[in-house]
């Protein structure tokens, strides 16, 4: 995939993810949106590392420019943290669903204002 295509795809993913994150009322959908947006950010960083006709950032593969290794190293960190925080957020949603029996943000906020219904 060429750099510009990847950049456009990354920005589209970011947009879709942030839109889902803001507009959807279900917490699971919000987390999905957050994950799509962060994958867009990851793709954006990888696309930034692209150079025309570049080889992978490994020495000894021949002449010519190599892709920028720094964004790759950044992304490696981001992917792992992404996975771990998503798992933790899902756990919080599970606990919330157990206690409040809803994943609807608006309902949770309304209950927060008017007091939790007895169960």
């Amino acid at each position: 995939m060429e750099g510009l295509t990847a950049l456009a795809l990354a920005i589209a993913l970011l947009g879709v993810g942030l839109w889902t994150l803001i507009v959807r009322r279900n917490l699971i959908w919000k987390l999905l949106g957050l994950n799509v947006a962060s994958n867009g950010a990851i793709l954006f960083l990888v696309a930034l590392a692209h150079r025309p006709a570049a080889r992978p950032p490994i020495t000894g593969l021949g002449p010519g420019p190599s892709a920028d290794p720094l964004p790759h190293a950044l992304v490696l960190t981001a992917i792992v943290i992404d996975f771990a925080t998503l798992a933790l957020a899902l756990v919080f949603v599970i606990v919330l669903t157990e206690r409040r029996h809803t994943q609807d943000v608006r309902r949770l906020e309304r209950d927060e204002e008017h007091g939790w219904p007895e169960r």
Binding site: P57, I58, T59, L70, I81, V91
Partner: protein
């Protein structure tokens, strides 16, 4: 609370502006190729992750371990009431898991040990090994929990974290360099990431009533 938050954000913005303006002195950065040669590695990304930005990687591992502890503690009191039926176990799935588990583990070890020379490294290898454990999950959870004792696995994980801390101490404080350190760090990271992924999957399966 609000003034404090505003002050923090403002301070961060000022720091960012200072960093971008070029007023602060910048360290002379060596070429990545030279750093890789000094470390005896060919993969520039591995050199950056394990050599130049080792502090960053260290704290990333700690964050990862903390989120796993959070998953464990958060899911402890939870057992879903309306859990669905257990995942169907087909002979095809079980046979494929039996056949693939060994090669996946061997490939993960290969990726971990050759990560400083080519594509690979500790995190991809850990993800591979974690996926291999997911395959083992398809073998049937009861059989698996009879084979793998989770508390021991977790002690192995904490041991791996302590070993990574010791290794980073040797590299950061004593300034040692070389490919043996990269290989050891990659292997330890593989263990840590794979066991973390396994604990997360195992806990989710358990809370769903699969165990």
């Amino acid at each position: 609370m609000k003034p404090l938050a505003a002050l923090t954000v403002l301070g961060l913005l000022v720091l960012l502006g200072l960093g971008a303006s070029g007023l602060l002195p910048r360290p002379e950065l060596p070429l990545p190729e030279h750093v890789a040669a000094a470390w005896g590695a060919r993969n520039l990304v591995a050199t950056i992750v394990l050599g130049v930005r080792l502090w960053d990687t260290l704290f990333e591992i700690l964050i990862y371990a903390m989120t796993i502890v959070g998953v464990k503690l958060g899911l402890r009191p939870v057992r879903w009431e309306g859990a669905g039926p257990p995942v169907a176990e087909t002979p095809l799935l079980r046979r494929a898991a039996d056949l693939l588990l060994g090669p996946v583990v061997v490939f993960a070890l290969y990726v971990a040990t050759s990560g400083h020379l080519g594509p690979g490294g500790g995190f991809p290898a850990g993800a591979l090994l974690g996926t291999g454990l997911l395959l083992a999950l398809a073998k049937g959870v009861e059989r698996l929990s009879a084979e793998v004792y989770e508390p021991t696995l977790e002690w192995v994980k904490y041991g791996a974290i302590v070993a990574i801390l010791a290794l980073t101490g040797v590299v950061l404080v004593l300034g040692r360099k070389g490919s043996p350190y990269l290989i050891a760090a990659n292997l330890l990271m593989t263990v840590e990431v794979a066991i973390g992924a396994w604990v997360i999957l195992h806990r989710f399966a358990k809370s769903r009533g699969e165990l």
